[in-house]
């Protein structure tokens, strides 16, 4: 893409790489947020704080909360995280790389 614009429109190349930088920064921000949640539910709620959460029976009447996060909740959260990432990034792709090229 960059090579193509280099040959005919030198001004455009500046914009494209500026766009790329912005796109990449947004991608990194999104990754940072999602990975924070990823670590919090698994290493945090599921392991490090599991013992302190043992007395809380949630979300089901018989499951200690830490145990539930370690064996159920973290996995559900992982699935949601990937779908949120796919949905946000596919939208971001459209914003930066479909409309911009028209």
């Amino acid at each position: 893409m960059a090579a193509e614009s280099k040959s005919d429109q030198p001004d455009d190349q500046q914009n494209v790489s500026e766009d790329h930088r912005l796109y990449w920064r947004k991608n990194l921000q999104l990754i940072a947020i999602l990975l924070f949640i990823w670590a919090f539910v698994s290493f945090g709620l599921g392991l490090a704080f599991a013992d302190s959460l043992h007395g809380i029976l949630a979300p089901l009447p018989g499951t200690p909360l830490g145990f539930w996060f370690a064996q159920q909740g973290s996995i559900f959260t992982f699935v949601i995280l990937i779908w949120v990432y796919a949905w946000r990034m596919n939208k971001l792709d459209d914003e930066y790389f479909t409309n911009g090229d028209e």
Partner: protein, 569 residues
């Protein structure tokens, strides 16, 4: 009908399905053989990835493992699913954009180095073979228990099936058989799980059932199980016993290892676009999560059923009163009862058990944890066809994973070693032929390992994850996210990560197994979790070496720029 007839019918029908698919999807070019031409729809790739990933270990062993380890088993559940988050966010979309055929391809080109490529090839082959041996053993186990053929013929039949679709169809054949295998294995896992959940907890959804009240007991199922554990001197089911840092290290090593396993990564080369790589990761984890969130429920049901069988209303039961399944599995040697005190009762107790006078009680029952899923339908008294179904599901899980791994081995030879290194003038047809021959040889070698399993298969699988975590994952991650990472840094990092991790595991598992306990481990981290530390060393060494050596060439930096953005629509 008898169990054996049902098993023969269901296993036979599923094999027939795989063969039909194999014949319909022959590969005609290396592109089709390696990545199914890059035309796999994301939903289908999600199913294929799920089957590729969920091995005999996930299907047969995991629920049993959790059943016997309770809370501490969570590391496997989180480790083997959380890796997909890393894969989907940090690796898969960019590797799809890079768009070659193998993991060593990426390492070799990103680090402009034949050495890096060869290191990656050796790791990929080692990791895949260790893994495949376990699959073939699973095939043998299912055959010998349910069809009463000996393990050798069982493995031969399995090999013949894999040979058909892996050698003829390559990735194209594997992909569509894996889609079918996913359907077979998830159905086979869920049907008994739902039956047992209704039976034990009065709920059709196992994920809900295991957290609800135990019918007629006035307490929840998990509390009741914890109570039984306390009475019998086992540690609490829902509470961790181990060192938290060690559990975190193990979980992280399994996660990074999962994300770095070549047979999983190459599945993401098969979808048409970058965005499809993201959504197919979402589908894959969703399909995996169905099994992975059911397994802990099955573990609780199985554990409760097992204890209730030998210990009813506060009394150990006599060996004569044990049900049919108990005796069948005793016949295979996988359940063993040694009546130490000669009272005819089956005393199943944990380390902390004491009798009325405070004297310790000796445990008399040994159960191989691998049988829990296979025996579960019998324990719960389910109809015979369900047992046959479980056998077919276990085989689907083992064969689908074996095929994916064998493909990695074959492409590593034909593409990375021959075409890219030793004989660059190979034509596409010759390369395809080389790939088929390599796949054929790999199938036979895997079969040999299945018939004569090295005694250390279990140990070596932990090895595979540790090595993938300490080598592939950091190398690929830095290749995408740090433009300035160079050849010297990446190779130094991989070598240090590999040598440290392998050295630690070999020292504690093979050279000095007597020292393999928490007080001797560094920072209290077990060999299973040491891949996390190896990964940190990899990152540190790579960073230091990079800062002392030359920047990567401009065309490599440009390549990284290109990987980071999606393709033109």
């Amino acid at each position: 009908m008898e169990i054996q007839q049902w098993t023969a019918i269901l296993v036979g029908a599923s094999f027939l399905l795989y063969i039909v698919i194999a014949l319909k999807s022959r590969a005609n070019s290396t592109g089709e053989f390696y990545v199914a031409g890059g035309h796999v729809p994301p939903l289908a790739n999600g199913m294929a990835t799920a089957a590729d990933w969920m091995s005999a270990a996930s299907f047969i062993s995991m629920a049993g493992l959790i059943s016997f380890s309770g809370f501490d088993g969570s590391v496997y559940l989180m480790g083997w699913t959380g890796g997909y988050v890393l894969l989907a966010l940090l690796l898969a979309p960019y590797l799809r954009k890079f768009g070659k055929f193998t993991v060593p391809d990426f390492i070799g080109e990103r680090y402009y180095s034949q050495t890096a490529r060869v290191v990656a090839v050796v790791c990929a082959i080692f990791v895949s073979f260790t893994y495949v041996a376990g699959q073939m053993r699973g095939v043998g186990l299912v055959f010998s228990r349910f069809l009463e053929v000996d393990i050798t013929s069982g493995v031969m039949i399995g090999m013949a099936i894999v040979f058909m679709y892996a050698v003829l169809g390559g990735m194209k054949g594997i992909t569509y058989t894996q889609v079918a295998q996913y359907c077979v294995l998830i159905f086979a896992f869920m049907v008994p799980a739902i039956f047992i959940s209704i039976h034990v907890a009065d709920w059709a959804i196992p994920q809900i059932g295991f957290g609800m009240d135990s019918p007629g007991q006035g307490t929840s199922l998990l509390q009741r199980l914890n109570g039984l554990h306390e009475e019998l001197g086992f540690s609490s089911y829902t509470r961790g016993g181990g060192n938290t840092l060690n559990l975190i290290a193990i979980t992280f090593a399994l996660m990074a290892g999962t994300a770095g396993l070549p047979h999983v990564i190459i599945r993401f080369y098969t979808v048409p676009r970058v965005r499809d790589a993201r959504t197919s990761a979402g589908w894959a984890l969703l399909f995996i999560a169905i099994l992975y969130t059911t397994a802990p429920a099955v573990a609780v049901f199985a554990r409760t059923n097992l204890i209730d069988t030998v210990y009813t209303e506060g009394q150990f039961q006599s060996h004569e009163s044990m049900p049919e399944w108990f005796k069948t599995w005793e016949g295979t040697g996988l359940i063993r009862h040694e009546d130490h005190n000669g009272d005819g009762l089956v005393q199943y107790v944990g380390a902390a058990a004491v009798d009325g006078e405070g004297q310790p009680i000796r445990n008399e029952l040994t159960i191989d944890r691998d049988i829990m899923v296979l025996a579960n339908p019998e324990i719960a008294g389910l109809p015979n066809w369900v047992i046959g179904l479980v056998a077919a599901g276990g085989l689907a899980a083992a064969l689908s994973t074996a095929a994916g791994l064998l493909l990695v081995v074959s492409t590593s030879f034909s593409h990375d070693l021959l075409r890219k290194w030793l004989k660059p003038d190979l034509s596409d047809r010759q390369e395809l032929m080389a790939a088929r021959i390599a796949a054929g040889v790999a199938v036979c070698f895997a079969g040999y390992l299945g018939i004569n399993p090295p005694g250390f298969v279990g140990e070596v699988v932990a090895f595979a994850f540790g090595l993938a975590a300490a080598s592939f994952f950091p190398a690929i991650f830095m290749g995408i996210f740090t433009k300035r990472m160079n050849r010297e840094g990446a190779i130094a990092g991989m070598v240090v990560g590999l040598v440290f991790t392998a050295g630690y595991i070999v020292y504690f598992r093979f050279l000095h197994p007597e020292l393999d306990s928490a007080e001797n481990w560094w920072w209290g981290i077990s060999p299973k979790g040491i891949g996390s530390v190896g990964m940190c060393f990899n990152f540190m060494v790579a960073g230091i070496v990079r800062s002392l050596t030359a920047d990567p060439p401009a065309e490599v930096v440009e390549m990284v720029e290109q990987i980071r953005i999606p393709e033109k629509p």
